[in-house]
């Protein structure tokens, strides 16, 4: 089937920063994203898990954006402005998509 080049950007970020990130993405003209829950993890700031937690200080989400390659830079700048002072991981992968008109 006909596929089209795109980028898959996966931003793992603190849950409390999610709305700030998605607002920045929308301002950067990202047309869509998907948010995945995260159960736990580990990094320089130690290990954590959401089990039994009610507080919002710990816990992360993954925001996944599929975008046209030419929009990548704008997106990364927007994402970076939010994660800059915060913990979080941004990973970019080349991908192909169906229905390119959607992006």
């Amino acid at each position: 089937m006909q596929t089209h080049q795109a980028k898959r950007v996966e931003i793992t970020i603190e849950a409390i920063m999610q709305s700030r990130l998605t607002e920045a993405l929308l301002k950067a003209e990202v047309t869509g994203f998907t948010v995945l829950p995260v159960l736990g993890g580990s990094g320089r700031s130690g290990a954590w898990t959401r089990a039994g937690e009610i507080g919002r200080a710990s816990g992360m989400v993954q925001v996944i954006c599929i975008i046209r390659p030419e929009k990548l830079d704008k997106l990364l700048e927007a994402a970076f402005s939010v994660v800059e002072r915060h913990i979080g991981v941004v990973a970019i992968v080349d991908c192909e998509v169906l229905r390119a008109e959607r992006f």
């Binding site: 409390i16 039994g52 507080g55 919002r56």
Partner: protein
């Protein structure tokens, strides 16, 4: 003294405390026992709704006390001032950075609603009445401490503060404040009649739900201690036990000045003594992301919360009843 000891003993052998201890022990022993996140949140929604509602009903029954306004103001002032004391104390007792000290300080000005709930349940068992509006005071004391901490940082030339309007909204319209205040007004509006309709939901099973919630708190606190107890240097640990006592004394002073009932004074002490572990940590992650969350989370949930739950509350209640001559 006798009363304190007997109250403490009764308290320590209540299903509530033992449930907390069970959770703590299970987590420290690395059992895989865990309460699902959604269930823990559901329990907390239940507790906030019930405690707010009952507070409102009590206000509707006894009428508004002339002291309501003053008590709210006192609560706000305490919440704003206690961080300054905590900050000074931390500078003396620990080697925490200015940033970490301010972040910790914010927690001690604010309050822990579960500690409050546990205290009301002790008061109830002991048949000591308190002002229903103390729930509203609890809500009012959540946020001011955050501003004090940010002011401490900005005064020190830190660039931590980012009080954008989003953060303001998050702090003031924080889910637990909204639910507590909202159900308080619902209880107030519907009064005894409303309570009757739903009391077999919010009154009868309340203590049992609290047990399960404290089991979960024990699990979370134990996991935190297991993984992050290295941040608990002696000075920091001592602060986590000294500060609630100091806070409680400030609360005692305020409560006596206001002329609250003995239960009201005890609750004022509990609020001042308790440290936030929901609203403030989240605000700190947004506003002071460079502060180390391990320190404030472990101190608040792993040290001060268990201290208040087991020894603090009976102590505060005993002191309050002694000082009000009840």
């Amino acid at each position: 003294m006798d009363q304190i000891l007997s109250l403490a003993a009764t308290n320590l052998l209540s299903p509530i405390i033992l449930s907390f201890a069970l959770g703590l022990a299970a987590a420290l022993a690395r059992s895989d026992l865990s309460v699902p996140e959604a269930a823990a949140k559901a329990l907390s929604i239940y507790l906030l709704f019930a405690i707010g509602f009952k507070g409102g009903v009590s206000v509707s029954a006894h009428g508004i006390d002339a002291k309501l306004g003053l008590t709210l103001v006192a609560g706000i002032v305490l919440s704003a001032v206690l961080p300054l004391i905590a900050f000074a104390l931390l500078n003396v007792m620990t080697s925490l950075s200015r940033l970490d000290a301010a972040a910790v300080a914010a927690h001690y000005g604010s309050i822990s609603i579960v500690t409050f709930v546990a205290a009301t349940s002790v008061l109830e068992s002991s048949g000591i009445a308190s002002e229903g509006y103390m729930v509203a005071v609890a809500a009012a004391m959540e946020a001011p401490a955050i501003l004090s901490a940010l002011w401490l940082i900005s005064r020190g030339g830190g660039n931590g503060q980012r009080m954008d309007s989003d953060l303001w909204r998050e702090i003031l319209l924080n889910g637990s404040i909204v639910l507590l205040v909202g159900s308080f007004f619902i209880g107030w509006a519907t009064g005894e009649k409303g309570l009757e309709e739903i009391s077999s939901f919010i009154v009868a099973p309340f203590k049992g739900v609290l047990c399960l919630f404290l089991l979960d708190m024990g699990l979370v606190a134990g996991r935190g201690l297991r993984e992050r107890s290295d941040v608990l240097r002696p000075g920091v640990l001592a602060f986590g036990i000294l500060m609630p006592v100091i806070g409680s004394l400030c609360g005692l002073g305020a409560g006596l000045l206001l002329g609250l009932s003995s239960g009201g004074v005890a609750l004022m002490m509990v609020l001042s003594a308790s440290a936030s572990y929901i609203a403030v940590p989240a605000a700190m992650r947004v506003a002071l992301p460079e502060a180390n969350p391990s320190i404030y989370l472990t101190l608040s949930l792993g040290v001060t919360f268990p201290f208040n739950l087991t020894l603090g509350i009976p102590l505060y209640v005993a002191l309050a009843t002694a000082m009000t001559g009840a």
